[in-house]
Symmetry: C2
């Protein structure tokens, strides 16, 4: 089984339906569309625009032929995390009708606490579980990314809780390098760092997850290399360390 | 009331007792010695050496005339966080007799999860509370630093728990800038970032903390400036935002 998550910026200038067909013709399942979210903001007009853009993402996911969108929920450093979390709740809640109509599920991705200022006010899987449970729709669940969550002492417990609720929608892997020299784009290939990827994978599978194990390596270093070579390294690292 | 925490590297080549007297003669209380810790490691000999070094730190604190050491507990990326946490427990436990004899308290400082690979396997105040409670000595408590903990949805609850147990030993402030361009040395002056410092201070004081509010700004930017000017900015930012 081969699959890919499509980023929205990669769709710019393309016909979406045909792009989906092209990927499938090349033997790839489309795991999800990345990304929706970024709901919080002090400006009501912008918050409304963000919700509209998420509706558009749901349409795009439908056209592309995937049943999932990854949500990077957003945060606004000029307001409290509590307020941002409230706005995330409101934003996701306002999308449920569209999500159901399109058959597209929304996966809340908790982001590492180092992104709590601008990228996401949802920083632990416990918070993502709380949010998904309080929204209480089968169209809303959680995306587990080892990079964001590996340090959490409650990780296993919260993965089990997530699986038990049928809310474990996606699983992303890479590694945490020591030292990490860039806060966004210095992720490592599996095996290059200290994340217990196999152990976390075993928890995710024990929790009932049967979807794709997605490799997601933001890296200024690897992106500068030949991408076919990079892909070979990814495959090799996956076999050895995931 | 004026106070200062002394870093151990600043004591190199100085007579410790005389340094303490000099600081007190200049009207400064010595809040704590920074830092002990760094207990974990795969090598038993090195772990023993770390404990010995912490004993030395306790002696230094006694000579300097302060009753507190801040512990940056350490982590070793080549072993699991669970193992590192076990070694931290063992390390701190083995220091209790010395701490008691010297009248020096040990403050576990939970560090931001972005430091979980090499600097500390204790990454939330909840974990620090758990550790301090399980060690169960009045010589072991917690140092609360807003930079490390501001994102935590359980922060208020855990500050209250910490205070209730008489384990809130220290309080450090600075700010989280957006963007933060260096993972270690890009902290902001109070007011330059998104941390709700006054709110967290109010929780800490509600929890019964009566000690110094310490400003700790690791910053390549500010360290390059005239340090007297920097100190003026610190005082001004403290008055306006802390």
């Amino acid at each position: 089984m081969k699959g890919i998550t499509v980023w929205r910026d990669a769709l710019a200038g393309r016909k979406i339906r045909e792009t989906g067909d092209m990927l499938r013709d090349n033997g790839l399942s489309i795991v999800s569309l990345c990304r929706g979210g970024f709901f919080p903001g002090t400006n009501k007009v912008k918050r409304k625009a963000a919700i509209d853009d998420n509706r558009k993402a749901i349409e795009e996911a439908f056209e592309l032929g995937t049943d999932k969108i990854v949500l990077v929920c957003g945060a606004d450093p000029s307001q409290s995390l509590k307020e941002s979390r409230k706005q995330i709740f409101e934003g996701i809640s306002s999308l449920l009708t569209d999500a159901k109509a399109a058959g597209v599920k929304l996966a809340i991705e908790p982001l590492h606490p180092m992104y709590a200022d601008t990228r996401s006010a949802i920083n632990t899987i416990g918070q993502a579980n709380d949010m998904a449970e309080s929204i209480d729709s089968k169209y809303v669940g959680v995306a587990v990314d080892v990079y964001h969550l590996w340090w959490d002492p409650d990780l296993k417990k919260e993965i089990m809780r997530c699986g038990k609720n049928n809310k474990l929608f996606a699983f992303h892997i890479c590694d945490w390098k020591s030292p990490t020299v860039d806060m966004l784009n210095d992720r490592g290939l599996m095996g290059e760092g200290c994340i217990p990827i196999r152990k976390i994978r075993s928890w995710v599978e024990e929790a009932g997850f049967k979807g794709f194990i997605e490799v997601e390596i933001f890296s200024n270093i690897y992106w500068q290399q030949d991408q076919s070579e990079f892909l070979k390294k990814v495959v090799s690292a996956f076999k050895d360390h995931a």
